[in-house]
């Protein structure tokens, strides 16, 4: 038998579910306690924010919201590993990555609260806004990487999609073009086991989602997506390689969606409570806290103080969101084109004239 090609997919995990280090070959981030504390704070802040956002939706103060509960390690690793000049093309729940890069909680709330201004990030001006059409963002990141390559810039584009997204033509198209055009890009599949009600097993018969990148000639790796150190180590490696012209990567971060798909979903209809309970035993936040506590970098007192700060900061952001008045009616015509064509200008004037103002 002649083997034309063969492959292996490496799996990495450095922290067990109790936060104990596994093995001795930990990546550099494992020793950078100062940064790890900052990342833990980000993850924990994101969880406080997430819980508040769900509560706002339940009380009619926010539209449909996509929770990030359980994904914090994957998202924090992505955001914290990137440089400011890199570009992120997210799906729609990667808040921890975006907060690190300068997106504000009030912008997240504005978007899900029905206001386009939520996409006008004050922070990362070149990052893409949320992409609700599944996996299309993978190609936008590839196009960004192509722009960087043409201009000779040492920047990397990163896109994030889910296990469901990895079934889509755009995902395959992206990994194929990243390989064929040798683009500086990292494509992260945050595999949370569920695409709304459809389980991972129905998405693909492939043993790993990472191996899909093999078909495009990319570097592929699967990591424990609840292990911040594994996620961050993989990102550091892939970003550095892409930046130096060494090729693109697919990283599958295996995690679990602990909440419903969105607030419009009820996961009890299609998955067992036992599965969710078991997944809570593997969740990422407590694992990193245990690791940092064991090394003396964190403790219960610090945690209590930080939680209070998170509550206060989230409270301020929620107040700012709730106090943001709606855009005027003409906003639906503004920014449609750089300069409004005659038709649009006429319809805008009509809409303004029809508006009964109460201010």
């Amino acid at each position: 038998m002649t083997i034309a090609a063969s492959f292996e997919i490496e799996y990495r995990q450095y922290l067990d579910t109790d936060g104990n280090p596994i093995g001795s070959n930990l990546p550099p981030i494992a020793r950078d306690l100062e940064q790890l504390v900052a990342i833990y704070q980000l993850m924990s802040f994101t969880r406080v924010f997430d819980s508040k956002a769900i509560a706002l939706q339940r009380t009619g103060k926010l539209g449909t919201y996509a929770s990030s509960l359980g994904h914090e390690a994957a998202h924090a690793a992505i955001g914290s590993a990137m440089r400011p000049e890199d570009v992120l093309a997210p799906a729609y729940r990667e808040y921890a990555a975006q907060f690190w890069r300068g997106v504000t909680p009030r912008e997240v709330l504005l978007y899900w609260g029905g206001d386009e201004r939520g996409n006008d990030f004050a922070g990362p001006r070149n990052d893409f806004a949320w992409s609700v059409p599944i996996a299309t963002q993978c190609l936008h990141a590839a196009g960004s990487a192509l722009a960087f390559k043409i201009r000779g810039e040492k920047r990397v584009a990163v896109s994030v999609c889910g296990d469901g997204g990895s079934s889509k033509a755009d995902f395959y198209a992206a990994l194929n073009s990243v390989g064929a055009l040798e683009l500086p890009m990292v494509l992260v599949v945050v595999n949370n086991q569920w695409a709304i009600s459809v389980p991972r097993s129905r998405q693909s018969a492939a043993k790993t989602l990472a191996q899909k990148g093999i078909a495009g000639g990319l570097h592929c790796l699967q990591v424990d997506g609840n292990d911040l150190i594994a996620c961050r180590g993989a990102m550091d490696e892939a970003l550095a390689r892409a930046r130096e012209g060494g090729g693109g990567s697919v990283i599958e971060m295996v995690t679990y969606r602990l909440h419903d798909h969105t607030t419009a979903d009820d996961a009890r209809r299609y998955r067992d409570d036992d599965e969710v309970k078991a997944a809570w035993q593997r969740e990422p936040l407590g694992r990193l806290r245990a690791y940092l506590t064991r090394l003396g970098a964190w403790d219960d007192e610090k945690d209590g103080l930080w939680q209070a700060q998170c509550e206060a900061r989230v409270g301020e952001e929620v107040d700012a969101y709730l106090n943001t008045r709606s855009q005027p009616v003409e906003a639906m015509f503004d920014y449609l084109y750089a300069e409004a064509p005659l038709d649009i200008a006429q319809q805008r004037a009509l809409a303004v004239a029809r508006e009964v103002r109460h201010d």
């Binding site: 806004a129 196009g143 722009a147 198209a173 073009s177 055009l181 084109y337 649009i344």
Partner: protein, 332 residues
Amino acid sequence: MTEAANAAPITLIEGVTQALAWEMAHDDSVVVLGEDVGVNGGVFRATVGLQDTFGPWRVIDTPLCETTIAGLTVGMAVQGMKPVAEAQFEGFIYPMLEHLICHAARMRYRTRGRLSCPLVVRAPWGGGIRAPEHHSEANEALFANVPGLRIVIPSSPARAYGLLLAAIRDPDPVIFFEPKRIYRQYKELVPDDGEALPLDVCFVLRDGSDVTLVSWGATVKETLEAADALEAEGISAEVIDVATIKPLDFDTIHESVTRTGRCVIVHEAPKNVGVGAEIAARLAEQAMYDLVAPVERVTGYDTHMPLFRLEMKYMPGVQRIVEAAKRTLAVS
């Protein structure tokens, strides 16, 4: 402009090539990408010679995937490039739609101006060249319903040159359909001076006083021939090339119909909910009392573009246009 003065007359497709070359030479952010656009110079030769001049990273042969081309184009445009993508035929443009509709068309809008998509998608468009299946569609109406896009269809070498320059320079996404049946129909002198033509306006190709004939793309040829035939019978027809399908310059059409009182709209796309329906509706809304006869539409039939043995029977011919014009003149 010595070089322009000495230039030889060129065809419509050479007008496309000339515009691409001019803009690439004067703006480093302009890149061309698509299938076979590089070494091969495009299946219709629209990008011939460009890769030799500008190199493989300004004229990029992509993998064979229209989704890829569209997605890369959106990404590049957002990050400050001005990509000009080629869809090899308009019948292969459908995998691009999600990127064009859900992203390109709404990028500026949904980010309140933070991001934008200054891209052009060029596609050979329409029937009449005895091509295989899926190579002969007139699908501009699909795009005309999408907010945020511009749709341009030139019908002469000079307008191909000037409108493509304008499309590339436009800060918003433009779909640029090239009527392949008249790619090489005739030549005219087109100075290579970088002068763009205005987008969003119709071009009055022939003045007339009895009836207004409105068309775009390849059927502008038959419409002008119909005007000649009508003139031989003493009927004065005004001919308008819409050129930019969206946004529609209705004022130019309206002004003409105010004088003629009669309008025949000619397009090769299907009749039902075609762009002609929009023009007719606006005439009904705004020019009802100027009209002395019902608006006529001479269009493709509401069936598929047939394979090529029948394709010329599908498309509006000179005789159908003349007959429609005469029907409007029978009313007084």
